[in-house]
Symmetry: C2
Subunit: 308 residues, 2 copies
């Protein structure tokens, strides 16, 4: 079982992670800076949620059209049914969740969109911690994919799993990612995947170590791709394709994403949850890329594949 | 109970309604025309849905940035649990649904977005019709609202209810509309409402008469507003506000709309269902209109109100 001290350690690591990612992303951007909204639920807020967070957004940068990264520490009086379906003994327990979540929307269509999340949850009954678990992962959504980038992304994911079960861990969480980020109505994955896990509770130090490896590994996975593609020339055509594909991102997040649904339905802070929405998007009825075009290549990357 | 002949009459009225609305909207636009995709499920399609439809889209018009109107006639082997929660006797019944659904996204931000739908459903067991019902309505989503427009809209709604229960019918279906088109996470209605109803099955001729009144009334309600506002001058500021507010439309349709969810989850034709998506949209973290501005006026219209 974990202790209040453990929870504080995770919280400290999360806020520090948010700081480090902001510093690195602002440096990579070179033009815009993050602005922070620190928020806190009022004690008389009608929502049953308590807690607060710090939402940070960088906008209109040289590299990032929008980069949002939020830390939150919220608690509720009762775990929702979706969270206790597999663990009936937790029904009715109070909960506390801390996490960092980010979505970056680059300007250049050759730079992929990305998402990462690391979170820690605790369930409490009568003031005692009765369960804890970790969840998280990171995934990549290119518009014009390059095999080198996808290989690099999955190589970092595979390597960080090494001390935590190695290939078997990577295989399991890579598959989970492919399954989770799937748009059934389009018969497409959201992107080329990465890692996804939930409900991880084997041994606290091991699991927290893996969470740190995922959180710390994110920049190693993403920044080299940004550096490689940020100056690729593009025009109206590539921009329009990017806006169109961002529509799929919206469809996934609003139709399927359990975190988004849980957040919105439980009275979470809508602006913080929906900072994942792209700044500009378009839909076009019946669009299909011309056969053989650069845009037509993408669809081949939206079926799960072994990348290593 | 209705008969196969009744079903055919409704179907005929629906396809004719689609034709008439297309003619009127193309005439109002004056520049662009509707293009039709007639589609039909192949007998070996892996989805359990059968049937087809005709999806019509007008794009890049003088008045309408996009106007989509679809007729569909689809059937399935089993009513979904959501459709039989209140009627356990229908569990497991086969079903057939015919309907017309439209969403128009005007170019000028002073012209409201609108949605209308009229539908007829039948449940069958052992080849016998065991239940039928009607559903539908229309609702208006202004960006820069005018009281005159909203009064006119609701006046048409009220008047068409006259032979079908009068004020009581209008009150009930107006309230249903306000409740249905509600974004809980924003604490806003989608727009200024109109009429919404489902599961209507009192007496077939009466109910079909009301459905016709709603479908035929739509153009009477909408076109005068289009004519009044189509030439209002606007600039970048109004356009940006329109794109921003379209984000709310996307949020409603993808997070809450039962028709959209049912369609996507049951293997419906994604392009036809998602023709409701605006052609261009934007999100902006933390945006609130300046106090006293024209944009700040809108929020007062997004709480249910008696308009007549």
């Amino acid at each position: 079982m974990n202790t209040p001290h453990d929870f504080t350690r995770v919280r400290h690591w999360l806020t520090d992670l948010q700081d480090r990612i902001c510093t690195a992303i602002a440096a990579a951007d070179g033009q815009a800076r993050f602005h922070e909204d620190a928020w806190q639920r009022a004690p008389d807020d009608p929502s049953p949620l308590r807690g607060g967070g710090r939402t940070r957004i960088l906008r209109d940068g040289a590299v990032f059209e929008q980069a949002g990264i939020g830390f939150s520490d919220v608690s509720g009086e009762q775990l929702p049914p979706s969270a206790t379906a597999n663990r009936p003994e937790l029904a009715g327990a109070a909960w506390r969740a801390i996490g960092v979540s980010l979505v970056f929307h680059p300007r250049n269509p050759y730079v992929p969109t990305t998402h990462a999340n690391v979170r820690h949850l605790q369930a409490e009954k009568d003031g005692e911690t009765v369960a804890w678990w970790f969840g998280g992962g990171f995934d990549l959504t290119p518009f014009y994919p390059f095999d080198d980038d996808v290989h690099h992304w999955h190589r970092v994911a595979r390597d960080l799993c090494e001390p935590y079960g190695g290939q078997a861990r990577y295989d399991a969480h890579k598959r989970w990612c492919d399954e989770y980020f799937y748009l059934k109505h389009r018969a497409e994955t959201r992107g080329v995947g990465g890692l996804f896990f939930d409900d991880l509770h084997t041994q606290f130090e091991d699991d927290f170590g893996y969470l740190r490896a995922v959180g710390d590994g994110f920049l190693d996975a993403y920044l080299p791709i940004v550096e490689r593609r940020r100056d690729t020339p593009f025009g109206e055509r590539e921009r329009e394709f990017q806006l169109y594909r961002r529509g799929r991102y919206v469809e996934f997040n609003l139709v399927y994403d359990r975190g988004t649904h849980f957040g919105l339905q439980s009275g979470g802070r809508a602006e913080s949850i929906l900072m994942s929405m792209p700044p500009r998007v378009r839909w076009e009825y019946g669009y299909t890329p011309e056969a053989g075009s650069d845009e037509a290549r993408l669809i081949d990357y939206l079926t799960p594949r072994d990348w290593l």
